[in-house]
């Protein structure tokens, strides 16, 4: 029974790419070190890397180096190439090793891909899926640990997915590949080893649908990416203290499932938004504004956000821990949101 099948978040992502690429010969996959030992096929030295986290190990052997293509360190160059190639009828999965490199590849994505459909009067689309890696907690330092999905969500024309479970990682990636427009998927490096139920067959999780991860009645906790797991820990503690929390996993920032969020807030009257990204002009503030706008009459306490601290991601483990949102931060925010003295 496939229902019992559990694989990791990383395996789910690979499975999505492999199955979809086997099914659809129009898909190519490009990125830095996604294969490894590029050009050394005849010596048996290729496919020796598989991306920084081994996600795509084996793919170039299975699908060929003409479809799984290693790129030089030229983020702007190959990302721009992916953008235009994906307008010609082929579909491109382009991996950006860390989302911190968005500053390098960003021009082609945000000034190029994002604007194409609009500019062409709706006739041209860019069937591009960018896979990139976000998130802190692994002491990778300030250039490899940021969570930059808010930047992408700011630009009209880019869809933004932030899956938190292996199931969503596979289903949303397949949906992204099949989507007509550019999608950036922010994979959380701290989740690659998380295991969960993933069906073996191909399926999609539609972009733009939030998920109620836990039903509750007293407070709505809106989460993104890894914060789901931190919030679930907080929820257990809150339950012991008589607070029933409803946890909503946003899953997709663009398009955004406003209804699930608003309906939940109308039900509970209290809201805490938990976002690993930074506090200003962010997904968290955006959702707070949405809640204030669409459900103000139901709000019965302050709208609280829990985010990382507004500083570069520090390296030292103690500092990084302090920087990231914690279970305690969520619990305290819930207390404030529900008008309890902490």
């Amino acid at each position: 029974m496939s229902e019992e099948r559990k694989i990791t978040y990383a395996q789910a992502i690979k499975e999505a790419m492999v199955q979809e690429m086997q099914k659809d010969k129009d898909i190519i996959f490009i990125g830095q070190d996604i294969s490894g030992g590029a050009g050394r096929e005849k010596d048996g030295l290729t496919d020796t890397w598989g991306g920084s986290f081994g996600v795509s190990k084996g793919m170039s052997t299975l699908l060929g180096t003409n479809r799984v293509i290693d790129c030089p360190l030229s983020e702007a160059g190959y990302m721009g190439a992916a953008v235009s190639a994906s307008t010609t009828g082929i579909k491109v999965i382009s991996e950006l090793m860390f989302n911190d490199f968005l500053w390098l590849a960003g021009d082609q994505l945000f000034n190029g891909a994002a604007k194409l459909r609009y500019l062409s009067g709706g006739t041209e689309t860019c069937r591009l899926t960018v896979r990139t890696v976000m998130g802190g907690g692994l002491n990778a330092g300030m250039h490899h640990s940021q969570s930059l999905y808010s930047l992408a969500a700011h630009i009209p024309g880019i869809k933004v997915a932030i899956p938190s479970t292996p199931y969503d990682a596979k289903g949303m990636l397949v949906a992204a590949i099949r989507d007509e427009d550019p999608v950036i998927i922010f994979e959380n490096k701290a989740l690659y080893n998380v295991e969960g139920y993933v069906p073996e067959e191909l399926y999609t999780v539609p972009l733009g649908k939030a998920r109620i991860a836990k039903e509750g009645s007293d407070v709505t906790i809106i989460v993104m990416s890894r914060m789901l797991y931190v919030a679930l820990e907080a929820e257990e503690n809150l339950k012991k203290n008589g607070i029933s929390a409803e946890i909503i996993d946003v899953r997709s920032l663009v398009p955004l499932d406003e209804n699930v969020i608003i309906d939940s807030v109308k039900k509970t009257g209290h809201v805490v938004i938990v976002d690993e990204a930074l506090p200003r002009c962010s997904a968290a503030t955006d959702l707070a504004a949405l809640v204030a706008d669409k459900s103000i009459d139901y709000i019965d306490g302050p709208i609280k956000t829990v985010t990382s601290k507004p500083c570069p991601v520090p390296f030292s483990p103690i500092l990084e821990k302090e920087y990231l949102p914690s279970k305690e931060d969520i619990i305290n925010a819930v207390y404030e949101a529900t008008n309890r003295e902490g």
Binding site: A38, W49, D70, P72, L73, S74, G77, L138, H143, F315
Partner: protein, 322 residues
């Protein structure tokens, strides 16, 4: 060509720099394997001659921009190895109080304007430092270290062209170790000698053996001299090889075994130096061993210092945020 470019009285210094980097990196590797260093660790083992040879021609006030593989540059340029060790371990006594770690260090006091986690991130800053030196007429030079992979970044082109047209006192040092992470140079670029690219920008370019500190010393000495005199930038390529993987833990399956053995056994920059100075009887074996013992003590002390140092206080996280 001068056979022994380094003045006799500075041979000990050259050896000390190289062997310090070697011993320190080996010590860091061990501490990392013991689980005492968080995050990634990119080592400089095998490339010691480059940072040492180049930095011997620099003053403390001269500028250096580094890479993600920067420990060697910091040690050679005169950073306190204790503070480097402490930074790598995320301690409060580190160069950056534990905020940056191995890949993100700065030491402005010693002219080090930073290692970086972004490949190609050091090119434009090197131009700015060279521009400032030229504008202020300080006689400083700016040295930019980078690898063969970084040459494929757009910043390489933009920065080197700026340096060329403004005739800035900059030396671009390419540490060509034949690999950009797992991508072999023959795959990631069609040009073999990266120094040839200098011609495209109208500047001086030269390729030297990056395992021979004497060649590196001479070429960089000449480049620094040209820069100080206002003759503009140089692109100096040093062909080298990394004895370890891209980072600690990389099994190097994309490389040829023979290639790794060849470089380790026949092209080790420290062995090449030792053979040369001993053959020419410029220095005795005892003298070298004494330097080595002294360096071992220094490195041991640095590791101990770092291990005994405290982690930063949690309250430090928002300090210096404005």
């Amino acid at each position: 060509m001068e056979k022994i470019s380094i003045p006799i009285d500075r041979l000990g210094e050259a050896y000390e720099k190289m062997i310090t980097i070697r011993k320190a990196e080996e010590a860091f590797e061990k501490v990392y394997m013991d689980g005492k260093i968080p995050g990634f660790l990119h080592l400089y083992l095998g490339e010691e001659a480059i940072a040492s040879g180049v930095c011997m021609n620099l003053k403390r006030s001269d500028y250096v921009t580094s890479t993600h593989r920067g420990h060697g540059h910091f040690i050679a340029k005169g950073s306190d190895i204790k503070k480097i060790a402490a930074e790598i371990m995320g301690k409060e006594t580190g160069l950056c109080k534990g905020r940056g770690g191995s890949m993100h260090m700065i030491d402005v006091e010693n002219g080090l304007y930073g290692s970086t986690g972004i490949v190609g991130g050091g090119f434009p800053p090197a131009v700015g430092l060279g521009l400032a030196a030229k504008y202020k007429k300080t006689g400083q030079v700016s040295v930019c270290f980078f690898g063969d992979g970084a040459v494929n970044e757009g910043t390489f082109h933009e920065a080197i062209n700026l340096a060329a047209i403004w005739s800035l006192p900059i030396i671009f040092i390419c540490e060509n170790n034949l690999y950009a992470q797992s991508a072999p140079q023959e795959y990631h670029q069609k040009v073999k000698d990266i120094s040839k690219r200098a011609e495209g920008y109208g500047i001086e370019g030269e390729t030297v053996d990056g395992m021979d500190i004497f060649q590196i010393y001479k070429a960089s000495r000449d480049a620094v001299e040209r820069a100080r005199k206002g003759f503009g930038p140089t692109l100096l390529e040093c062909k080298t090889y990394l004895f370890t993987g891209h980072y600690v833990g990389d099994p190097r399956n994309y490389r040829y075994k023979k290639e790794m053995e060849y470089y380790k056994n026949e092209r080790d920059c420290i062995k090449i130096f030792e053979e040369k100075v001993l053959n020419e009887k410029l220095i005795t074996k005892d003298e070298l061993m004494e330097i080595e013992r002294k360096v071992e003590r220094t490195v041991d002390e640095a590791i101990r210092f770092a291990e005994e140092s405290s982690m930063p206080d949690r309250s430090e996280v928002m300090k210096d945020v404005y």
